[in-house]
Symmetry: C2
Amino acid sequence: MKRKSFEDMDCPIARSLELVGEWWTPLILRDIVMVGLTRFDDMQDDLGIAPTVLTSRLRHLVDAGLLERRQYNERPPRFEYLPTEAARDFEPVLRALFKWGVKWAGAPRAEAGT
Amino acid sequence: MKRKSFEDMDCPIARSLELVGEWWTPLILRDIVMVGLTRFDDMQDDLGIAPTVLTSRLRHLVDAGLLERRQYNERPPRFEYLPTEAARDFEPVLRALFKWGVKWAGAPRAEAGT
């Protein structure tokens, strides 16, 4: 399911979304940058995400320069993902989303549609 | 393609993404909140988005309480989408994304992967 890429758009918001806008990715960055979970297994436990999806998202973030992959255990091989400066700089976005969510995405809405 | 819902998660970031985290949605909010484009046809021109996708995203934002739909032309019927307070409150998130993008999503990266 290839979606249209925002990579070549003029707007910095669009290009940001190309790097960090996929489903799950902001929550992965939240775990790494705000919660301090860096190990694959810990993130998978926390998010309840399919391992194949987590692998794909992490690889994308490594390629995009937001994470560095490091092996922390030989047998069995286990990896952690450390935030780069680009990822740490993403924290204000997460904080703004958090603040918005507290105000506007609090409880499930009682009424539907308009 | 039903993706896992973040609606019932404890984290306000997750619940925010359920409302505004789909592919295209932040750019639609950018057009409406920051650029002032509110008409369906103008957004479609600006984004180069498939009409069916734009319709789906706008409907979701209306249901979520971020937009109000209003007919501005009878024949042919044409609609515009006005931001509610919830949408206007999303501007700090867009500004934070803009700032991050200027710094970290500037030019296409020369080298690939790591």
